[in-house]
């Protein structure tokens, strides 16, 4: 029998009319192992805090999404959204599964090339593409998703100079009935900008219009909005077919599928309120199949799903630094991970589980990070069992955006490991040291010496 855990005593008011005589419990159970590897051993081996990625989960998510789409539509292609998590180990896991790459900057593009993705399988999105980026894309035959007219003109010029016909898509924004409308990227559908841009491309004949792209928002909780987007894109494709007798190769519905994270202020936890992937798939594929394409002339459906495929494959492990009580009597716990490595805590209430067994009592707590900054709040309010310094927790749904948006602010970035499908742990990024932080820093000669 295990030795009984000691928990410090707590004082809790009993509210009437709520719950039962046991009061509120934490919604979570202890998570002692990830993919069969104990949290304790992971932290002992790689230090705390530590990012952990589950390769099995990544592959499972991808295959699941792929199956859901492919059994509803005959031509589907996923492109891994690099910005969601551009660790090479993660990108290559997706590439091994057959996913292409979707990038929004030069370094992401170069990363994809370096990872071995063929140029024609890298979709280049985003509003900021330099002449040199465009030239590189043309040389590599990568589809360029045009964001604005200035880019269209520039690209036309470059293509003319190079005497090559780059493959392009235009990004279309539209009203899908969802607020906020993302109209800062691409050409608007309703006011005719998109159709205008298409006509410009077709009229010059310098660019090969192969696709139509949209990305209607992020963490979309309304699948039907995708149905609207898919039918609007299909409409454009049909119009192109009718006017120019040109079949569009692909409709890129972008990303934005929600993960199971809980948005701040939402009534229910993400696991209960977020749509399943099949609901998005249903809306999108039904819209395209009903758009009137000939069965042998259906466009490919490209998806740049990022978050929904990787979020729940990532965990952040950390340890308690200290407990304290605030002036208003609230309990506060200081963790060794802060907002510099969990950017998403600004909009999610992350699920956090203790990594060791605990008793039945819980307490409302505020979770702070280790940074000496007032904004470093990991969870404003969470019900957790009493934790002792040195005890460990697991933050869930950390796979998307946290690693790519993390920074060395006050504390350096921790190590990242990936647990493979045989439960073997691989270090995929070492914990940072001062050298990493100072890499590229140049100190003028006259500043080298000083005496205090």
């Amino acid at each position: 029998m295990d030795k009984k855990q000691y928990e410090r005593p707590i004082i809790k008011p009993l509210n009437t009319g709520l719950m039962n005589k046991f009061g509120t419990r934490t919604e979570y159970t202890a998570l002692t192992h990830i993919e069969g590897v104990s949290v304790k051993s992971l932290l002992a081996d790689y230090g705390s805090p530590l990012f952990v990625l589950s390769e099995r989960k990544i592959r499972e998510n991808y295959r699941n999404a792929k199956r859901i789409f492919e059994t509803r539509y005959p031509k589907v292609q996923f492109a891994w959204s690099y910005k969601t998590n551009y660790l090479n180990a993660v990108c290559n896991t997706f590439h091994q599964e057959g996913s292409w790459a979707e990038v929004v900057s030069r370094f992401e593009y170069e990363k994809a090339i370096k990872n071995g993705v063929d140029g024609d399988k890298i979709l280049f999105n985003g509003p900021d593409k330099t002449d040199s980026d465009l030239t590189l894309c043309i040389e590599n035959n990568s589809p360029i998703h045009i964001d604005h007219l200035d880019e269209l003109y520039r690209l036309t010029e470059i293509a003319t100079k190079m005497d090559k016909k780059p493959r392009v898509a235009i990004r279309v924004n539209m009203d899908t009935g969802v607020y906020p409308m993302w109209d800062r990227f691409g050409f608007n559908y309703e006011n005719g900008q998109a159709w205008d841009a298409i006509n410009k491309i077709m009229a010059t004949g310098k660019l090969d219009l192969v696709g139509l792209h949209c990305h209607i928002g992020t963490f979309m909780l309304t699948p039907s909005a995708y149905g609207v987007a898919a039918s609007k894109l299909s409409d454009l494709a049909m119009s192109i077919k009718n006017k120019y007798d040109k079949s569009i190769t692909y409709l890129d519905l972008g990303g934005g599928f929600a993960s199971k994270n809980t948005l701040k202020g939402s009534l229910l936890p993400g696991s209960d309120s977020v749509p399943e992937i099949y609901e998005y798939a249903e809306a999108i594929t039904t819209a395209i199949l009903n758009a009137g394409f000939q069965p042998d002339d259906l466009p490919y459906l490209y998806l740049e799903t990022g978050r929904a495929l990787v979020d729940d494959a990532g965990f952040l492990l950390g340890s308690v630094i200290s407990n304290k009580r605030l002036s208003d009597g609230r309990r506060a716990t200081i963790m060794d991970f802060g907002v510099n490595i969990m950017f998403t805590s600004f909009w999610y209430d992350h699920k956090i589980s203790p990594a060791q067994e605990f008793g039945q009592h819980t307490e409302d707590t505020i979770l702070y990070g280790p940074l000496c900054m007032n904004i470093d709040v990991v969870r404003e309010n969470i019900t957790l069992p009493p934790l002792k310094p040195g005890e460990q927790v697991v933050v869930h749904h950390m796979g998307a955006y946290n690693i790519s948006q993390s920074m060395q602010f006050i504390s350096l970035r921790p190590a990242i490991v990936m647990i493979d499908t045989d439960k073997k742990v691989h270090l995929i990024k070492s914990a940072e040291t001062l050298d990493v932080l100072e890499k590229g820093e140049l100190l003028p000669e006259y500043l080298k010496e000083f005496s205090l």
Binding site: R63, R67, T71, P74, K121, R167, S247, T285, P295
Partner: protein, 713 residues
């Protein structure tokens, strides 16, 4: 009056089921061993040709000699035995035309049953002369002494005879040669030797069959104490030879079994010879080839009535050579055995598992044995996500069902609720069902559909791939799945038929295997084949399309045509060669080639033998080609002897993609193919081809990496 030279020559070789010109020439020469017989034979053909033209009979059958080989034999026979005079010519004209008419009449009667008329018209014609003419006192046919070259060149004939006499088994060899010669009424060894050489040139299989057939016949007479005088009298043993060639390799595809069958057929011939000999000697009528005719026709007619054609296979498209019949049959058996008129695809999108196949253990039994059940699996081979208690947890539930082929919706049953998991509705066991009529007596049925999910209605015309409804769990369905079957009647609950799916992929260990005209098996993960526009465009050879190639400084022009049978072919104007091809939207393949073996078209035929019109990075297609054209004549000739029993020469074809500038909408694709001819395991010859496609066209193809044919249009 037009005389068809080819028709004359072909009449000679037709006697031996051949259209080989060299063989025909040899036979023509033999017929002139007796000048009268030779002349009378040619005359008889000419008379028939003139008659046929006057009466507007089918000219093609005159040209290929099939109408005239019987009159030819009658002509030779009477020219052999009677002197030329006025009566002779009157009778020659009458009997030639009569034999022609008998030929045409018999061919119309027998061809309806797919049977040959062989030399029956000759028998009737010659018997009419033998029996009828003596009764007309003024028609004087004077028996003449057989005028043979043997009289003038005895040394030549004797040397052959003596040469044979020195060999072991001389008696049998004499008898074999003389029996061969007897077909042309030349009862000597030289004629037999020349005919034997002719047969050898024409076909090694026919030659080996003639020897095997004759030996069996001889052995039968020998061991069972047969009356050898019957065999020596007019050398009636040629019946063994003709039957052996006809049933061993001409009307029946030559194979181990067809050769083995001779051990039954030839004794039957022997017995028939003997019995008919007894009968016919009463009326003093020669038997000639009657036993061969009777037994061959009886055998073929019997074989044609079999319920299942296996083992002994009748030749469907006559190639006029046992070799071609053999190789062609095996090749098409390998390649297109299961090709069907209707092309049925999978009724679903993406990867599905066959949870119950043909003769499945659960419900696909008896009348419903040829059906498939489909479900969707995850990586753990489960059909549902946890907890699996709700219909929605099942991956295939509510997934679209698509039309497997075009047709009319003839039946829709809707309104049956989906069952809860693990419950079945035995009362309305098929559940919601949709039946499509694809053609006369050909329907497909989809069952257990979700209530109210139908996107089509009764009477709608649906095209392949159109969404029809969604997968449900109505009827006898404990968990969501799709039932799919093909049937000949339009009813729910109709009996199933065994019918292959045209093209699909199976997935194993993340690799795709391409299947054509195959039946998916239980447990297989299957999906439909996607085609690629560049490939379908580049290989869309519509009639009238021309190709202009620049090949080694020469300009070559090809043109696509369609013949009366709707078969499409490429014709090369320079080499006058034709290559027959089929493009069914998923695969492009060649079926036949006629013409110049050295031509560019022949290389194209080899290189583009079998092309998948959908780009799959690692897709490989293997095929086997016919061996002719790859090996030299000696090797092929020797191989022909053993081919019915085993093949040691082989030509393997391999296809794979080598380059694609963009998988989804390529503007450039290259693929490599190669043919490896091997003897045993040793490579004998290899030809490599590389094809380049760009912007919807074939731009060039390379032979052996050094010769390139540039397409200029």
């Amino acid at each position: 009056m037009k005389i068809y030279g080819n028709g004359i020559l072909n009449s000679y070789s037709q006697i031996f089921f051949s259209n080989n010109k060299v063989f025909a020439l040899l036979l023509l020469i033999i017929s002139f061993f007796d000048l009268g017989a030779g002349l009378s034979g040619v005359l008889s053909i000419i008379i028939c040709q003139i008659t046929a033209v006057l009466f507007n009979f089918n000219k093609e059958l005159i040209k290929d000699g099939s109408y005239t080989y019987n009159p030819l034999m009658v002509g030779i026979a009477i020219g052999m035995f009677y002197d030329f005079n006025l009566s002779f010519f009157i009778i020659l004209v009458i009997v030639s035309i009569l034999t022609l008419f008998i030929t045409i009449w018999m061919s119309t009667i027998l061809s309806k049953q797919g049977l040959p008329f062989l030399s029956l018209p000759f028998l009737l014609g010659i018997w009419i002369v033998i029996l009828g003419v003596p009764n007309f006192s003024a028609l004087q046919l004077n028996p003449k002494e057989i005028l043979s070259l043997a009289k003038w060149f005895p040394a030549l004939f004797n040397s052959v005879t003596n040469g044979i006499a020195a060999l072991p088994f001389a008696d049998v060899i004499h008898l074999y040669f003389r029996s061969l010669g007897a077909i042309f009424f030349q009862y000597n060894d030289l004629a037999g030797l020349i005919i034997a050489i002719g047969i050898l040139i024409y076909s090694r299989m026919a030659f080996s069959l003639s020897i095997i057939g004759f030996s069996i016949g001889f052995a039968f007479y020998h061991f069972f104490g047969g009356d050898f005088s019957q065999l020596i009298y007019s050398y009636i043993g040629f019946n063994f030879i003709l039957t052996a060639i006809a049933l061993g390799g001409f009307f029946v595809v030559p194979s181990k079994k067809s050769y083995l069958m001779l051990f039954f057929i030839i004794p039957v011939i022997a017995l028939t010879i003997s019995s008919l000999h007894t009968l016919f000697s009463i009326v003093e009528l020669p038997l000639y080839s009657l036993p061969f005719n009777i037994i061959t026709i009886i055998f073929l007619a019997t074989m044609a009535t079999r319920r299942k054609h296996s083992g002994i296979t009748l030749v469907a498209m006559q190639q006029f050579s046992p070799e071609k019949n053999h190789y062609k049959y095996l090749n098409s058996q390998n390649r297109f055995n299961n090709n069907t008129f209707y092309h049925i695809a999978l009724p679903v999108m993406g990867n599905w598992k066959i949870s119950q196949g043909h003769n499945g253990g659960i419900t696909h039994k008896d009348d419903w044995q040829y059906a498939w059940d489909f479900v969707v699996l995850d990586e753990e081979d489960r059909t549902y996500q946890m907890p699996g208690v709700d219909l929605k947890d099942y991956y295939c539930y509510d997934l679209p069902i698509i039309a497997p082929s075009e047709g009319y919706v003839v039946e829709i049953i809707d309104g049956i609720e989906d069952n809860k998991i693990n419950e079945v509705n035995l009362k309305e066991n098929w559940g919601n069902t949709l039946i499509i009529k694809h053609g006369e007596h050909f329907y497909s049925k989809l069952s257990h559909i979700k209530k109210g999910s139908f996107k089509v209605k009764k009477g709608d015309y649906v095209t392949k791939g159109m969404v029809l409804a969604t997968c449900g769990s109505s009827g006898r369905s404990p968990e969501p799945h799709l039932h799919f079957q093909l049937q000949t009647t339009p009813y729910v609950g109709s009996k199933t038929i065994e019918f292959p799916l045209s093209y699909y992929l199976t997935k194993k260990d993340n690799k795709h295997q391409f299947h054509s005209f195959d039946i998916p098996k239980e447990e297989e993960i299957v999906s439909n084949v996607k085609t690629t526009k560049l490939l379908t465009d580049a290989f869309l050879f519509v009639p009238g399309k021309t190709f202009r190639f620049n090949f080694e400084g020469k300009k070559i022009k090809w043109e696509v045509f369609t013949n009366a049978l709707n078969q499409t072919y490429i014709y090369c104007h320079q080499s006058k060669s034709t290559a027959y091809f089929i493009n069914n939207g998923t695969v492009f393949y060649f079926t036949d080639f006629y013409g110049d073996d050295e031509s560019l078209l022949k290389h194209f035929y080899y290189g583009a033998q079998n092309i998948l019109l959908g780009y799959y990075k690692n897709a490989k297609i293997k095929d086997e080609l016919m061996i002719d054209g790859f090996f030299n004549k000696l090797i092929t000739g020797l191989h022909d002897f053993t081919a019915p029993f085993f093949h040691y020469c082989k030509v393997n074809y391999n296809f794979e993609f080598s380059y694609c500038d963009n998988e989804h909408n390529p503007s450039e694709i290259s693929f490599n193919t190669h043919c490896i001819a091997s003897i045993g395991k040793k490579e004998y010859k290899r030809i490599d081809y590389t094809f380049h496609l760009k912007e919807g066209k074939i731009t060039s193809f390379q032979i052996n990496k050094n010769k390139t044919a540039q397409c200029e249009n």
